[in-house]
Symmetry: C2
Subunit: 124 residues, 2 copies
């Protein structure tokens, strides 16, 4: 467990600053996609699994748990039958969506400027 005690002002470049942990959480493919998937309203586990094409249930669970622990999303259980669990953004999570959406949109808008991904993979 790393120490998380940065005095002075906050700085993501300081390994011991809590900012670093938060950046590590948000600067992550699945976190960025999951938060984006919740932007227009709560969604259930299965809906998120479908939307986040390619994610395994194990990783999705882990991602959602981390986001919940950090106060970015809420997890609400409806004890109906069958069981029903809804994930939704907290105010903090909703605010975090802005920079993440910007990143996702930048990627889509600029994808044609990147080299062919198959060629990059071969070169390794």
């Amino acid at each position: 467990m790393p120490t998380t005690s940065c005095d002075r002002q906050h700085d993501v470049y300081d390994a011991s600053c809590p900012c670093r942990q938060v950046l590590d959480l948000l600067a992550n493919k699945w976190s960025a996609l999951a938060l984006g998937a919740l932007e227009d309203g709560p969604r259930r586990f299965g809906a998120l699994r479908d939307r986040l094409d390619g994610v395994s249930p194990k990783v999705l669970t882990a991602t959602l748990r981390k986001l919940e622990d950090q106060g970015l999303i809420d997890r609400t259980v409806f004890p109906s039958v069958p069981l029903h669990v809804e994930y939704s953004l907290t105010p903090l999570g909703a605010d975090a969506c802005a920079p993440l959406a910007a990143l996702r949109q930048w990627v889509v808008a600029n994808i044609d400027r990147f080299p062919d991904q198959a060629a990059v993979a071969r070169a390794s």
Copy 2:
């Protein structure tokens, strides 16, 4: 190797879209920090290692190679003595800095709204 052939329009939510690989590269702690560290001019390997507090040389090398492969940074070797290697942003990399800087800055600006990191770690 995943297939990287998404026809139709581009979408980061599609696992087979090249967007997904690019998002995976950019939505990464070390990539976000490394590109930010190059924002105000070229830097050498050692300078980056110092700036990216906590990064090991191996991980830094891997991160820089991936960014280079994707055309986000340039690697210039100066055959001076001792050897001198300079990393700098390409135009594409410079453009990518904007959303990444926004994300880093959002984290710093909102860090006080997050739960205490030590408490989160204990709860696991």
